[in-house]
């Protein structure tokens, strides 16, 4: 029931997503590489996607323990 103007806007965003898929898939070098295409987020612009779905942030850097790299590598 959305107005035609809104549908046309979404379709334009969708077509931009398809172009983005082509760009990203252009970097594939082997069968195991990531591949990109139409999924439930294809009618969202990158900005909309980020605004809706990417809402986490880390705490202060000091809150995270940084193990001694030399010791950890030796242990490993």
């Amino acid at each position: 029931p959305a107005p035609r103007r809104l549908l046309e806007e979404r379709y334009k965003v969708f077509l931009e997503s398809v172009e983005r898929h082509k760009y990203l898939n252009g970097f594939r070098q082997s069968a195991g590489d990531a591949f990109y295409g139409i999924n439930p987020f294809s009618d969202l612009s990158a900005e909309e996607f980020s605004h809706i779905h990417l809402k986490s942030y880390p705490a202060m850097k000091d809150d995270y323990i940084v193990p001694n790299k030399t010791t950890s590598r030796e242990n490993a």
Binding site: S17, R20, H21, L24, F27, R28, S30, A31, G32, D33, A34, F35, Y36, G37, N39, P40, F41, S42, L44, A46, F49, S50, I52, H53, L54, K55, S56, Y57, P58, A59, K61, D63, Y64, I65, V66, P67, K69, S72, R73, N75, A76
Partner: protein
């Protein structure tokens, strides 16, 4: 360390959830870690309430965003018991915090750890195996269009914006990768999961690592 390790093989990871339009990935990943850690301790695997964390973790902003570490701090400092998801179901919006009587079943944590492990993904493998699935915060901007395969490009560190759960890894093939559970439903990615190349901190996967202690 084994060539391949996956907590799902031991039936210690709950099913993929869908956060819908609620920006509470931070709560989903932390509840995922508690569900698995509780089951690793020999208890039944069960779905716990994400909505409780969204509504009650007062240092975060519910569906408008939050931090995995502040959620763990809230769980630990308040000694809140996470109730079953069926008791406090997901509503896809922030609401008021509901309190339950002490007799209500719930899962609390005895502590938590948070590490910065960039350049130390071998150490991250060890932490994963010894402690259970890990909540991490990644740069997921390029994940919008992901369908499958191993992410190796277009995913830098330094812009962490999405919390997910590392449940395993596979180093047996040409390209070693982390096995990561997302909260965007099963129609995204590999039945809700994504594979990320190991060893070079792709997407900043090793920058902000956290898990509860049970």
């Amino acid at each position: 360390l084994p060539l391949r390790f996956d907590w799902r093989d031991k039936n210690l990871v709950t099913s993929v959830k869908n956060q819908m339009d609620c920006g509470a990935c931070w709560a989903f990943s932390i509840v995922d870690t508690v569900e698995s850690a509780y089951a690793i301790k020999g208890q039944p695997l069960m779905e716990l309430s994400v909505q409780q964390v969204i509504d009650c973790s007062y240092m975060d902003n519910g569906c408008n965003g939050g931090s995995t570490l502040s959620a763990l701090k809230w769980l630990y400092q308040s000694q809140s018991k996470l109730v079953r998801s069926s008791v406090y179901p997901f509503k896809s919006r922030t609401g008021s915090c509901h309190y339950f009587p002490a007799t209500e079943f719930g899962v609390s944590i005895k502590g938590y750890k948070a590490y910065e492990l960039s350049g130390l993904e071998d150490e991250m493998m060890r932490v994963l195996i010894h402690n259970g699935p890990l909540a991490v915060i990644v740069d997921a901007l390029s994940w919008q269009d992901y369908l499958g395969g191993i992410i190796q490009h277009h995913c830098s560190s330094g812009h962490s914006n999405h919390a997910v759960l590392v449940v395993g890894y596979d180093t047996s093939g040409d390209i070693p990768y982390w096995i990561v559970k997302n909260s965007w439903g099963t129609s995204w990615g590999i039945k809700g999961y994504v594979h990320i190349k190991m060893g070079v901190n792709i997407c900043g996967i090793a920058d902000f690592v956290a898990y509860p202690e049970m």
